[in-house]
């Protein structure tokens, strides 16, 4: 479904160029549930942004469903079936949670059939009550609330490939347990759907079909959680 070929991303002027992603290769299959982990600054968010089109690759290719999307913009990629929940979701003055969910669910087949009740269901799925639908997506929301809304907006896309960037941030462990179930259900609803979650959460890592560990802009290790997790724990301790 998603192929990343020799992908590099560098920033800064020629003299002081720093390489954030270095010749990365990656292949994600339909139906796969992949967790990307690795230390802060290893390039996880950058990889996600390059996939969604928020950043432009320095070199390399991104192929989605056999189509080269390297030069496509964010909107085109969204319409082709890629969704992304930001690590740091932005605020919007005057835009309500419902507005945001409505935009997410518009223009494609979604599970939101009857809007009123289903927006309610959707917001409840991420652990917030109905009253949040009328709230503005602004700085009166806590970090955790904003993250939940962000997760809901990505789910509402009902996309073929959905990437969540550190969905656990600002959310307590107990609630996160429930979110793990939400992700699993979301994937199970469409067996062809691929799920990529950037996370440090053991709970989530254990559920994955495959773990990819990024370090210094390269894949340090990759494989089934049973194989990779022990190495990770060793390295961490």
């Amino acid at each position: 479904m998603l192929q990343v070929k020799n992908l590099s991303f560098s920033v800064g002027p020629a003299r002081k160029r720093s390489t954030i992603l270095n010749n990365l290769n990656l292949n994600i299959k339909p139906g796969e549930f992949v967790v990307i982990t690795g230390p802060n600054g290893s390039g996880k968010s950058t990889l996600a942004k390059l996939t969604m089109g928020l950043e432009k690759a320095t070199s390399g290719q991104i192929i989605f469903n056999n189509q080269d999307i390297t030069d496509k913009n964010i909107t085109e990629r969204a319409k082709l079936g890629i969704a992304f929940a930001f690590q740091q979701p932005p605020h919007f003055k005057g835009v309500t949670v419902k507005d945001l969910l409505q935009i997410s669910a518009t223009g494609h087949e979604t599970f939101l059939e009857d809007s009123e009740t289903d927006y309610k269901k959707l917001i409840e799925t991420v652990g917030l009550d109905e009253s949040y639908l009328e709230r503005e997506v602004n700085n009166t929301l806590s970090g955790g609330e904003l993250k939940r809304i962000e997760i809901a907006s990505a789910i509402a896309r009902n996309a073929q490939l959905t990437i969540f960037d550190e969905p656990e941030a600002g959310i307590d462990i107990w609630s996160f347990e429930k979110l793990v179930q939400v992700f699993k259900k979301f994937r199970d609803k469409a067996p062809e759907r691929a799920l990529v979650i950037i996370s440090h959460q053991q709970r989530l890592i254990k559920q994955a079909d495959r773990i990819i560990v990024l370090e210094n802009g390269q894949i340090a290790s990759e494989g089934h959680p049973d194989d990779v997790l022990p190495q990770l724990q060793e390295a961490g301790s």
Binding site: N73, I74, A78, F86, Q88, P90, V95, S153, R157
Partner: protein
């Protein structure tokens, strides 16, 4: 409203949200003349030189007064003076607003001077929409609104200028006594070569008086906006003003806040933020399938909602 033509009716709908004479008190001013007027049991609307005197009886509850102004004749220039006396404990909504349609060669100008005397513990909500249309020469609107709030009075002013006004110089002033509170919400959008100036000045004389002022604007094309927001605190009081502007194209905004705290218990805050739409906001909405243009208009519509 048989005397109104189609264009005038549309302007009326845009600025006052009505298409026929409403229940309750009203006055319709078209091209300098009062074409229809009605008082109600509790609200008296009477003419004075160049305008109206509107008197709301004490204890009046939940009534609305409509006083829209329409200019459809090119080159019409007017100064309108309206005085409002809101009785103690009354609770009313005043819907004003001015629409100019100009299809001719000369500038049309409306200067409106509104003075509100808000009685003890009375509540007033003032809604003013300004709008210009038509292919002709300039549409100029210069509103002056003055609020005098007695003890415990509450005023809420929604001042909106959405599209089509070439030049505006708006002045809003308020003086508050003990326990009085004013909320001012200003919204503005300028396009083309339009120019807009807004001065909002609040004087908090009363103990526990409160002012909360939020100005949101969008300056597009070559337009220019200037804001001066001033709060003076002369007692134990709270004042907050916020000036938020989005720039597009070559739009320009000058915001000059000032706070004058003259009492040790005066708490005054000002926030100002001017800039183009944040790229993360665009990225987010585009990742939900909107094009860049759609994302921009969603952000601006929300911002000015």
């Amino acid at each position: 409203m048989k005397t109104l033509d189609q264009i005038e009716k549309e302007l009326m709908q845009t600025v006052a949200g009505i298409h026929e004479p409403p229940a309750g008190a009203y006055n319709f001013r078209v091209n300098g003349k009062s074409v229809d007027r009605q008082s109600s049991k509790n609200i008296n609307v009477e003419p004075q030189e160049n305008g109206l005197i509107i008197t709301v009886k004490a204890d009046t509850q939940d009534e609305v007064v409509h006083i829209p102004v329409i200019i459809s004749k090119t080159g019409h220039k007017e100064v309108v003076i309206n005085d409002f006396y809101i009785g103690d404990n009354a609770d009313v909504t005043i819907v004003a607003g001015c629409g100019i349609y100009n299809c001719g060669p000369e500038n049309s100008v409306h200067d409106g001077i509104h003075t509100f005397h808000v009685g003890k513990n009375a509540k007033v909500r003032y809604i003013e929409k300004h709008y210009g249309a038509g292919p002709g020469a300039g549409k100029t609107l210069n509103p002056v609104s003055k609020f005098y709030l007695e003890k415990g009075a509450y005023a809420e002013a929604e001042l909106e200028q959405i599209r089509g006004v070439d030049s505006t110089n708006r002045i809003t002033e308020a003086e508050l006594k003990d326990g009085a509170k004013i909320l001012i919400r200003e919204k503005m959008l300028t396009q083309g070569r339009q120019h807009a100036k807004s001065h909002i000045e609040t004087i908090l004389n009363g103990k526990n008086s409160v002012a909360d002022i939020v100005s949101r604007s969008v300056a597009t094309d070559e337009s220019r906006q200037e804001f001066t927001l001033h709060i003076e605190g002369n007692n134990l009081c709270r004042g907050h003003s916020e000036c938020d502007a989005i720039l597009q194209d070559n739009g320009a905004v000058l915001a000059t806040p000032s706070l004058d705290a003259k009492h040790v218990d005066a708490q005054l805050i000002h926030e100002a933020a001017i800039g183009k739409i944040a790229s993360e906001q665009l990225d987010k909405l585009m990742s939900l399938g909107l094009t860049q243009i759609q994302a921009e208009s969603q952000i601006i519509n929300g911002f000015l909602k």
